[in-house]
Subunit: 280 residues, 6 copies
């Protein structure tokens, strides 16, 4: 997992540079260079923990002398007031890293917590909750990690790791059959071909053309059920569009294999957490 | 503004790389290299436009041959169905840029729209709505731009462009007076000194020590009114902590100069927008 | 195709820096700054042209004032003495770019020419010639482009765009069935699962476990025929290991869908080309 | 040697990124994160070892926890089946680095082995075998290191570390004498001036103009002998153009000091090596 | 202080690359790879030490095996012949780093020494000696550190950490009042507003407009005294322009708070230091 | 000269980033975004112009819309008050670039002016004035360009473009003869071998060992004359150490070919120049 790790270290470095500029002029003026401090990052509301190790890395990158003890592994439920991360070390260094670490951790916990609610809502069905590519710039990896932490699964990480023929592709290619045929001819033989379908006619056409996966977009539960029936044994099915906590179970009960939810990452509510520090 | 521009171009480049990897294997398989397309990015709900030029830049960076016509300057209110950006050019290029551009634009419109609601809520008072440093990594500049677009103003961009003595600084320094004194002694003579106060005692101590700005954290409206009275003519005042659309007007009516709201950027709901493309 | 283009520009920039250092001290001493020259890059042996546009880009990156006229599109056969690229412009600039451009072009023509011979050798069978990941550092994209130019097709570009379970994966997972099962469970639903098989037992086990593609490694033609029979209608087949121009047709006639050849890129013979310049 | 080392680390980092992308999705799916493995990289044909330490560095850069034991220092002859590098550590990490390490090592051994054959072919003469600048992008340093390992010596590393007046320089300058004069006037007084000569007339002119080194290009053995005689005691001599294992000794026996061979690096045959892993 | 440290490490890396290129070809030819050496960097004239730790970092960055013992902390006065830094380790590595380390150290000592003379010249007055932004590219941080070491204080580090309205701003804005008003309206409430004044009229206008700091440019001592009187209790004062060691005390005695001196960094005389090495 | 140009553009970009940070907060507050201005950079003392085109590049890099007209080519003498560069364009952009451009130009003019004085001091002798590697980090190229502009010539640009055996090399190698021999054996045959000599005995030993260039360090004029006599017709000679404007002619009259002067670049006095702007 070298490259993901490298990418994360680079993101942290860039985020710190973005937040710090040439230095924390307040701490440099007010806090002695050798002052020490300790503290806990606490949950201030119930949440699914995610990113504690990532936050620890932020502190470490600022100053390898900061010691961090994790109190919550990814995926564990934490009550309001529960500890997430214990921190001790040079005071200037801790305060330098604080905001960057909290921003990251609050977002990741927020995503994992929301994903968990979706996953619980479809409990007992075969459906799996997926994310999308609707992530803020540079947050693809950490946002998607938080989805997995919450019990969801990941859709494409990037445009190069899956073939997904969407409405515009179909329109330009001149139809579902032609689009699927082109994909099958020129794409790598190691990849499946998935197609977005808006109607049952497209579902049938896609199946006949040999599609491996059907992305059923903005269909009613009845249409979904029908499409699932057609596809049975021939292709995987995935529902998308307008999914909410209210309607997700109904969608799941149509029998689709996957349900993708953009809001998991494009409309995050940061979890309420804070660094409670104390000076000895 | 060169450096901000440069930073944005770099962010777009990184975001595209993150989303694309080595290429859009679907479009390369399905769409002829020379196919053209046109389309509009529309608002799908009422919103305050923000970032249309930023989104256009994404398309331009992918392919300078794409032509973009902006239909909404920053800050304008757009009704559901209203156009934001018109796009025409090479089909593969447009689809390559689509997700990155939409992610950015949806977030910026979301922030501007929410900020506008806060600003309207305090209309007629002297209070100005501020953001915080609670932004996802690499989004500091665009998030803060969206806050200004919505009518808010910016707090510190980074740790190096303002002196803000917070609770931990005070604890380590051994009190408000000592902290303010140290800041005044060693910081640049071109900067003011601001101090976070949790109690009225701290307010008095800070004023006596010569603080220029008071950050009144988590105070009740009554406490805020009292603090504002003490500070009158001697220091600027700013309220923070637990601010919502419901309570922001009450806070504003205490007479504080600034109200900072973390949720503007840490809990964004992406505006509902989409690219409606058509093939001629 | 932005990102591939960007990667190529970056490679050219790095290659020029590697070859030039701080400048061409000979030309700076001997040739006036404003001297002009013209020239042709010619084939000095029969070859399949590949990379002429890439070479032109090298000249352009050194000096946008150099004009290049391509005389050979990718994939065309050129006789000994035939022209590939015509160049005119500042003499110092042309000489500065010459070696980097020729190194690249000679390699790409060499790969395309050799690939063409393999493709011709299996003419009339269903088998397609594939490359491997055995490319020198930083040449993955251009080497694989040359393979396609020669009529071959590309295997994985990187470790992240295909699932290929090899002998070591099987050994560590504890068998073909278990390895395929794990891949099917946790990998993206947009990808096929391919497995390397060294024996016919493994072929059967892989098919039962639901593998989508079988990589038949170092099998005799008889074994290949047998494996192809088993897999018929259930999985794609690919032969690899010890493939030469002498035995490739026999392998193709076993009915495998793909034949991968490492030597296409790991043992390249540069095509014999040269820049014949003249001063007017 | 810091900067060469730094350049190599950067190349390895880039090569790994090129091969891995965002991760090895096969290993992540199939192999437990904490699985360990061991293995040997063996020679599968007789070769001159070169680059074993470089390959070890690739493993180390992926994961500093991988332990590597070298079994073959640069320049040693290894029989078919002989061990080159012993590796132990995390299985995912080893498989992540495998292809990049093997690609590099196979190329370096291939170059060193071929160079050794040329050096042996001129054994007992005064002639030294040189490389050229005909190396794939980013392989200048490792390719040239392999030439030295095989017993050859290096010509210019880059355009900035030697003055070599070639045919085009002469044509533009208006003759050998003028070109040599210009080089002598403006180049650093710490450098020699070398000139490419195609005829014996040019040899004489170059010597009269005070050239320090003559590059005798595409001359017959008789011409070479003549040129060596003229230059004796006045300039060093070097033969180039069309050198093969068949004719190199005849060339050496003309008395030239250096013979440069482009094929050493532009037409490499990768040595046959492989990683034989075993699970305990 | 992470980011300053990071910036320094990057500068050292770039400086080494600039000085070394692909390697020290002399040492590689003449000195065995494992030769060791020891040495002292000595002052060859009386100076104020500054940058010894920076120089040590250069050696460390070339080779972490080099051991450095500092003999002079920043700010201490060293007599001619006194030791600054003791060095021991690999001979090639030490010679590789030598020039870069000496260039940096000689400059920093030169600046600190000159600053000390200015500070001593105003001893007993309230005036503090400041630097300017007149530093060679990439030396802002180290030059300003040397000024502090010599007893001076720092003016703006960059254009983004202070508001300083200069003559051109005033001309374009249409007067001092308007310029100050605009700055007060749109700049961060955490910053003071400073204004350059060339005349006493401007001083009065600036004070009335609410400026916090007055930069008194090229005024005679009499004018300075007058301006200081006007500003008393209302704004800080700073003198600049044509300051020399001869006139600085007279200026200080006018009562200004700050005196800024461009020559501290734009016209540095490198301190005379050298590496005296010995071989055991 | 691509790479030097590239390096300069990179330096300017870094210098601007260093000076600007996230933007010029003063101009953004005070000057309208579309305000225009014009101005001249004037000499405020007699100087040798150098770097006017470099300064223009700084303005151009900030904003390609700024127009610059050069009034002084490199090497021309300019009287006090004479124009160097005329600038017109967006006011914010010009002020953003001003300090970076002036810092660079003042330094380059300063170096060229001082070099000219040294060159004039040795007028009529055969001696040429050389620089050294004593340049601030990242200024090697521009400082050395200024030396050439002033009439001097360049010594090594970097450690990799010349062989110069110094005292420490000799001590470690065990003597002048051994050091020269090693250099001759392993260094490129395209380079000369130069040796630092402190005594006449070393001069003789170096000549016998076949050195091509003698660096005569800290010798008296009498010793220099003697050394020149010995070396006549066998090696080039260069004097270094303690060279001043007072003693340089005496040194030149000993007959040495080169005289190197560290102060040309390590103790620069910035030329007095300024941007005189006017608003229309």
């Amino acid at each position: 997992m070298k490259s993901d790790t490298t990418a994360f270290l680079t993101l942290v470095e860039a985020a710190l540079a973005e937040d710090i500029g040439r230095g924390d002029i307040t701490s440099e003026a007010v806090i002695p260079a050798d002052a020490e401090m300790k503290g806990f990052i606490h949950a201030r509301e119930p949440l699914v923990a995610c990113g504690v190790a990532h936050a620890a890395q932020v502190f470490y990158q600022v100053d390898p002398g900061i010691s961090c003890i994790s109190h919550a592994v990814d995926g564990i439920s934490v009550a309001a007031g529960g500890p997430l991360l214990e921190i001790a070390g040079n005071a200037r260094s801790i305060l330098l890293a604080e905001r960057t670490a909290l921003n990251l951790l609050a977002r990741m916990c927020g995503i994992a917590t929301l994903t968990r609610r979706y996953v619980e809502a479809v409990g007992g069905t075969q459906a799996r909750i997926c994310d999308t590519r609707k992530t803020p710039a540079m947050h693809r990896a950490t946002d998607k990690h938080a989805v997995v932490t919450g019990g969801g699964c990941n859709h494409r990480m990037r445009l190069d790791d899956g073939i997904l023929i969407k409405d515009n592709h179909i329109a330009i290619a001149g139809g579902v059959s032609e689009a699927v045929k082109r994909a099958r001819d020129s794409a790598s033989h190691l990849m499946r071909v998935s197609v977005e379908c808006d109607t049952l006619e497209q579902v049938k056409e896609a199946l006949e053309a040999g599609a491996d996966v059907l992305l059923l977009d903005n269909m009613t539960p009845d249409m979904l059920s029908e499409a699932v029936k057609f596809a049975s044994g021939r292709a995987l099915t995935e529902a998308s569009g307008g999914v909410t906590l209210e309607n997700v179970r109904t969608i799941a009960e149509t029998g689709v294999h996957y349900i993708s939810v953009g809001a998991l990452t494009h409309s995050v509510r940061a979890a309420d957490i804070g660094l409670d520090a104390y000076v000895e």
